[in-house]
């Protein structure tokens, strides 16, 4: 039961992350690889506050969101001037900067040592120690973020970001100041990614910069692409698949001296097959 709950928690956290990136990449059509940076900002906010202060988990989530909103506002101002490839490149640059801060600001982040001993959340004296209780809490957060995302994409604001994906120049002709919309959706998605980060830190109880390297952005992007762009259910399916596939392969009996390597090969092959037969992802409306 604990293992299944663990998988449920990981899936929930990465669904939150995948949905947040989907708002930017899927719905708005902006190829961003920054999201792991905001994931990390949320994680470090919770880790630092829970280990160095008396501030509790739920407050730390709010602090993480504020930190992500602030940093995404600043970087979004710059990114919203770019299109296409330059946007992706600039977002990668930001990711690298944030990673360097995590790695080098040792007095605050612990540098390469990371931060250990992060507490589990506590609410009215109840500590979410067990995997099952933590899963329940994570699911509540996930449902809340799902409804937020659903509301956004089906609103008039959502209509505009989808139109940006289709033809930003045309939208500007109609009088839309599209950089504000791009900035806003970027900030909202950063806040969501930070929530996922806070849950990640508190669940794993240890974080270090390696969890927030630029390569992890590619990992999250692959969830969005596999699940299908511009579909929240697709984002969830993509995240679940990428998390579950290697776990499933742990149970496939193979000689121990090649098991790990064979699992990697099978995992890679399965992903390739999926993309050949379903290049728009499981439930995707667009291709990247």
């Amino acid at each position: 039961m604990a293992y299944l709950a663990h998988l449920g928690i990981l899936i929930s956290i990465f669904v939150m992350l995948s949905m947040s990136l989907n708002l930017v990449v899927g719905y708005t059509g902006l190829l961003s690889v920054t999201h792991v940076a905001f994931f990390g900002i949320g994680a470090y906010a919770t880790a630092i506050l829970l280990t160095m202060t008396d501030i509790g988990f739920f407050t730390s989530v709010v602090v993480g969101i504020i930190a992500a909103l602030t940093s995404s506002f600043l970087i979004g101002l710059i990114l919203s001037k770019f299109d296409d490839d330059f946007y992706a490149l600039a977002s990668l640059g930001f990711n690298i900067i944030v990673f360097s801060i995590f790695l080098n600001l040792q007095s605050v982040t612990g540098g390469p040592f990371g931060i250990s001993g992060i507490d589990r959340p506590e609410l009215f004296g109840f500590i979410f120690t067990s995997n099952v209780s933590f899963l329940a809490l994570t699911l509540i957060a996930l449902v809340a973020l799902y409804f937020l995302s659903h509301f956004i994409v089906n609103s008039s604001f959502g209509r505009v970001i989808k139109a940006i994906r289709d033809d930003e120049k045309a939208l500007q002709i109609f009088g839309y100041r599209t950089h504000y919309y791009k900035l806003t959706i970027f900030m909202i998605s950063a806040g969501m990614a930070a929530v996922a980060g806070s849950f990640f830190a508190s669940y794993i109880t240890f974080i270090d910069p390696s969890s927030f390297a630029a390569t992890e952005s590619v990992f999250i992007l692959s969830m969005v692409i596999l699940g299908g762009l511009a579909d929240n259910k697709g984002a969830a399916l993509g995240a679940a698949t990428i998390i579950l596939l290697p776990e499933f392969l742990r149970f496939v009996g193979m000689p121990s001296d090649i098991a790990a390597q064979m699992r990697q090969v099978i995992y890679g092959l399965l992903l390739i097959v999926l993309m050949i037969y379903r290049p728009q992802g499981f439930l995707g409306k667009y291709r990247l």
Binding site: L7, F113, G114, F200, L237, T241, R250, A260
Partner: protein, 361 residues
Amino acid sequence: MKTKWIIGIIAAVILVIVGIALFDRSPDQAEAGLIKIGVVAPLTGDTAFLGEGVREAMLLAKEQLGDTEYQYELIFEDDQLDPKMTASATNKLIDIDGVDVLVSFSSGSGNVVAPIAERNEIVHLGIASDPNVANGFYNFIHWTPPAEEARVFVEELEKRNISRLGMIVPNQQGAVAVADAVKERLEGTDIEIVNEQTINAGDTDFRTAVNKAKDGNPEIYLLFAFTPELEILGRQMKEAGITTPLTSIEAFELTEERDLFEGYWYVNAAEPTNEFNQAFNSRTGKNQTLGAPNAYDIFNLVVSVTEDEPQRPTPKDIAEGLKDVENFNGALGNLSVGENDIILSPAAVRIIQNGQPVTIK
């Protein structure tokens, strides 16, 4: 139609996992006298060669077991040193495989495993330098601690009358831990760190750091880098005309290009016995890797403690037994478990001679 097909496959996968998790129970190991040891190590990825070394060493130890009261099973899970994979592997080993003991490799993984082990009251031995990994009743570390390596290193500097030290330190957990321990040890001595440069793992051009490292005119350079940064640094220092001697803590032991460091002494974690080296080489055809002798010792320590128990021990019994270990003959010499649950092994001074590491102390 295709969508439904794909979703159906995913659903089937999930059902399989659920099925295995709920229904595929191993025979009651308490009755079978079976002690399960779960090992979380990087078996794929950049550090797979280290995880494979750990695996081979533990399998070697198991093969060498004679008749024992209890049976021992090793279950290996890959984590690629990725915290979320470490957590998955650990939860699976505890919940599905029902292990009695967990072994982890690296401080990062150890920090993930330790609280899970403690919460589930499962013994955990980390091959890790971070003392936090040993927090809690059930957690232990088997490593030559940075403080011990620093002690031996500073003693050697004093013996050689070296008073000006230059340091080149990568921004990596293990390296920074040892560097900090060296600095702490140097306090109160006449040895001064005249130059310290930080490099980033993954970089390939250290020429700026190398040029800056000449300032202060050190008598020796302490390099903390590992492959491939170590070799790049060694070459670029030569290209920059630096003829000042180089030294390291552990790094020279692991490089394939020992000719770059010919004639240089260094400090290594505890040196494995010839017996272990030969057995490991005979089994794998390769020299032992970082952490392999530690893994070998961990297996034998667990067996030793378990065999002492008159009836099948619980993890709590095993933990209590480990805390009392003194003068255990391991691959890394004479081992005892210290107050803070760290299995102490002494550091050694070695030199590269004719491309081979030779112990001088």
